[in-house]
Subunit: 210 residues, 2 copies
């Protein structure tokens, strides 16, 4: 099972690493990290670099494609090389997925025209402007395209995908393997459940960070 | 707030990236990735490299220390350079933390002697052999030391730490910022709740991967 995860400068690391940690445990999984320029790709805060081993042209027909988000997506919305690659791998993929603002890239590539999709709650208007129909759900599937909500949603998205690809027993084993028995300290990890003052706090602070 | 995350060869990426994604959003956070040999550090499956920017001797007095796990911890259990560094930074840290089998390194450094600690459920015997008192909880605090259970527990651990360091409102804003409203597809993300056949499946397959 060939899995390709796109990296780029100013990405959000957990968007990529959450799905990686799950999907790399699929039977026969081979995960490649791919970028326009192979080498270290820095997160939006410059504090961490994830290494892309392969260039776009070296990744031709992965079965699963994962597009993470991050403020770096914005400068790629008109990047012909990236969008062409997304369209090309999507044409033969079994599953094309995104996490957080990665869905903006799928939309910019024309893959979400008129389709329901999700992404980070702060980016829903942009998602709509790019032709998708934003839905406030954690995971949205339309055919072979699965979009996930913000950052941490990639773990849930990938576990569901694992169940589709390898069956529920294997997916459950992966969940136990990564000991995913989440105990968030607060209610309110979504915009629908958070207190309004926390929502406003995040909105004010976000300032183009997602 | 200076935060140091140790990297090493054959680490588990989410152990490091989960806490990073939370702690990097603390007010004034500066996260450094540090390793015995700076440069790319590969995960246990070789599929991903995280970049360590700093050498051990360049990171002297971080306020928060995070030790991730992975099968690579085993060859570090008698690594004087790593264990000395852990002891040294712990002597001035405000918080010393671990995720997954990172607690084995804290124990090997002598920090957990006679203290309650947690880690990946498959490594509890090793943790006991190294002098700690294993506890089957997702997060265990003893003074300024906080240990987390396997892999994904680092997110929960870091959010709790964020609340201690910056207050609950800020931590809640971080939780909403990374949209941490987990929806695991299965019950049974812990060894206490998983069906016995899934536990045995993971035990058989784990084969030294955590």
């Amino acid at each position: 099972m060939e899995i390709a995860i796109l990296l780029f400068d100013e990405l959000t690391a957990l968007d990529a690493v959450g799905p990686y940690e799950v999907l790399s445990r699929l039977p026969g999984a081979s995960v490649s990290f791919v970028a326009a320029q192979p080498g270290p790709q820095r997160t939006e805060n410059r504090m961490l670099a994830l290494h892309a081993d392969l260039a776009l042209e070296q990744v031709v027909s992965p079965e699963i494609v994962v597009i993470p988000g991050g403020i770096g997506t914005r400068s790629l919305l008109a990047d012909r090389q990236i969008l062409d690659w997304i369209r090309r791998v999507h044409s033969t993929s079994l599953w094309t997925t995104s996490v957080c603002t990665g869905s903006l890239l799928l939309a910019a590539a024309g893959l979400l025209d008129g389709l329901e999709a999700t992404g980070h709650w702060l980016a829903m208007d942009t998602l709509a402007a790019l032709g998708a129909e934003p839905v406030s759900r954690r995971i949205v599937q339309q055919g072979k395209i699965i979009t996930g909500a913000g950052v941490s949603a990639g773990i849930d998205m990938a576990l569901r995908l694992a169940a589709k690809v390898a069956g529920p027993e294997w997916a459950q084993a992966i969940q136990l393997g990564i000991e995913y028995d989440p105990q968030p300290p607060f209610v309110g990890g979504s915009v629908g459940t958070a207190p309004p003052e926390i929502v406003e706090l995040v909105r004010a602070r976000a300032n183009g960070l997602i």
